[in-house]
Amino acid sequence: MNADERFELLWNDYLEGDLDDPGMQELRTLLSSNEGYLREAVSLYRTHRMLGLAARNSQQQQDRFVEETLARLPKDRDTFIGGVMKAVQGKREKVARRSSPLAGSRLGWLVSALSLGLGVFYWGGTAFENRAPGVATHPAPVDQTLSNAKFLSLARAEFFGELAPPTGAALATGRDYTLVSGLTKIGFPSGATVIVEGPAVFRVLSDTTLGLDLGECSVHAPPGAEGFRIETPFTRVVDRGTRFSVSVDELSETEIHVVEGAADIYEQSGAAESAQNAVGSNVAASNTGAEIGAGLRLTERQAKRFTQEEGFAVKSTAFDRSRYRFRLPDRVVAYDVKTDEAGDATHLRGVTVQRGGREAHYSTDELIPATLAWFQSNATADRHGHVVVADEMTSPRAAALTRWTLNEGIINPGGSRLPLSTDPVMNRPEVPGQPNTPGFAVTFASPVVNGPGPDVLLMELQTISNPPQGDAFHVSPLSFAGGRKSHTVTNYDLALTSPEAHKLARFQLFRFDVPVHSLEELEREDALGTPSGLNFRALAVGIDLSDLGFAEGETVTGLFFQDAEDDLHVVDPVILCGLPYAGH
């Protein structure tokens, strides 16, 4: 293949979203070495984008664009867009729901809101002009000034259109953050903390105020942090030293549940009287200024729902303590590594895991190694190979999974779409009529005790062309006696988009010409080594033995793993080990 053909292949793959990291590197080299390629690439990219626009540029699509744009205009007290919207095609809420293939789900609404831009505005009249950041107030709309609020931690957090921020990163004042899934805990200088649960659209408005357009959050304001505020499209919630949850739904209706202490709720604009009338004697006078009017005080174990159907209204709702999230879920939080000269990860040094709400760090000396006890690939040879080693093949090959190396492992085991419900079959030789189970088994150097949160750590190598959330797998007990069950992992704690997922050093990938039916064949069969591409990262997930039906304190000597066969990608384990017991 000559250079022109290679450029054609790479650029076409790029436009189709099929280009992997090594390909991107090669493409970059080609573009930098030949201006003709660069010009060709840009002109074809433009044609590609124009084709996309032409496909979307029907009259109907143009109407929708106009409609969406008008829906984003800031509300004016006297002449709001209501008239405009009627003149176009009906109410925005209906459009938002119709326009999404995910209609009906909260995520669907979120996607619609994003595309319509509804999620980024307050509907609070002139107050919007003064407070709301971003697009509507100034020709320099995106305020990138960093606030003093920080992302304290994240749990499987996926943000719309961007990678998750690293722990400790400051939030930009006024910038919209769209949390598609997962959770994040944000800390403010006063000591107030907010756990936001995706899907949610939120922003930091000041060092004492968080705006929440959609989604749920749980606020904790310790002594000294009183006065912290949550602003929703209809309400302003002022903390009076408390724990409370705020939920904003697809119609911007807001529900507030106070778990401890007290919180004052004000309407964003106007209709304060109606709120006062609605809540009767429960209303407390505002002490934060005349512009926000009278407020409603909610105390411990009280909840209210705030709507804007025919004007501002306060409705009763049952208090639900479970709406409040006290902490992020137990998970693998981070891991630390040894690196090579290029700064790429070669060895695991330790792992930080939240277990039972408490973070603990374990060095590899404290982890419980696992030995490969069974391996069977699928029925056909996997062209992606089964053994990954840093350099030359070593013996025994299976030890690649036992060492604390991150760029070594035993990959692409066999799998099954359905998880096991009976004991895995591991006969040597295979018994006629009893087919062995594809997958792999490990035994731990010492029993792993089921404690709170994750008990077992699995890490896999992954690159951009693989599922960013990690390759799904089933994990099963070696024996199903006693009501034990399989558990399927579909989302890793540290995914490809996690800043905590370290880039791996290069490795050699050994491919087999034949399917591998046993550990013996894994050790014996000829395998051809090829160097890896760049930009592999190590993902991590914690496995809670309780999910497999083990009781608290029960011990486990081994486990069975299978790829979940949910797609063309197969799990690639590089680390599998037990965690020390975290019980009391």
């Binding site: 970059r28 044609t47 124009m50 540029n57 831009g117 800043p499």
Partner: protein
């Protein structure tokens, strides 16, 4: 309202008639989106930038001197919006390595000098060029750009391999690119 002189529309918007902004958006949305499609690097939602630009113009209309070049103002706002978004993306770790060759972004920026209406003309030319293709080729492009189905699905529908599909798309893009360039050149010759 569509029949009102453009400056009268702007005056009405400025005096509080938000409905008068609709024909303003309709008048410029095609040109603005075409320009953005030609300028924006991968990973940027051009409709989002276009909408932001209209909203900024709407909220700052009091600063605009009616009678001067509204188009120039709108496009300068859009240019700023685009730059801001590109800056935001650059700050994202690995954006270049994962999504966009940086050299291409530089090359895209070089074409910023072309008049904004040129890209609307190109979009119209592209539509004309699409009509010159055979039905088979147009169906291919409709799968790819209207239905946005995966290549594997296109392969299954057409009975051709994925590499063959890619090759076909490559050929069609080049053909359309050349067709558009040719039409634009002819139009320019006609004007000169």
């Amino acid at each position: 309202m569509d029949d009102l002189p453009f400056n009268e529309l702007l005056r009405r918007v400025r005096s509080g008639d938000a409905a008068a902004f609709e024909p303003v958006v309709r008048r410029y949305e095609g040109r603005l989106r075409a320009w953005l499609a030609a300028q924006a690097p991968p990973g940027i939602d051009i409709d989002e930038i276009a909408q932001r630009s209209f909203v900024v113009v709407f909220t700052n209309l009091s600063q605009f001197e009616i009678g001067t070049d509204f188009s120039a103002w709108l496009f300068s706002v859009a240019r700023f919006q685009l730059k801001t978004e590109i800056t935001r993306l650059r700050r994202i770790t690995d954006y270049h390595s994962r999504y966009a060759p940086d050299l291409m972004q530089q090359e895209l920026a070089r074409f910023d000098e072309e008049p904004s209406e040129a890209w609307e003309v190109r979009l119209d030319s592209l539509r004309d060029c699409l009509q010159t293709l055979g039905e088979h080729a147009r169906r291919f492009l409709a799968w790819r750009y209207e239905e946005e189905i995966p290549l594997e699905e296109m392969s299954a529908r057409s009975g051709r391999s994925v590499p063959a599909i890619k090759k076909q798309l490559w050929i069609l893009r080049r053909k359309l690119r050349d067709c558009v360039e040719s039409r634009v050149a002819m139009a320019q010759e006609g004007h000169s």
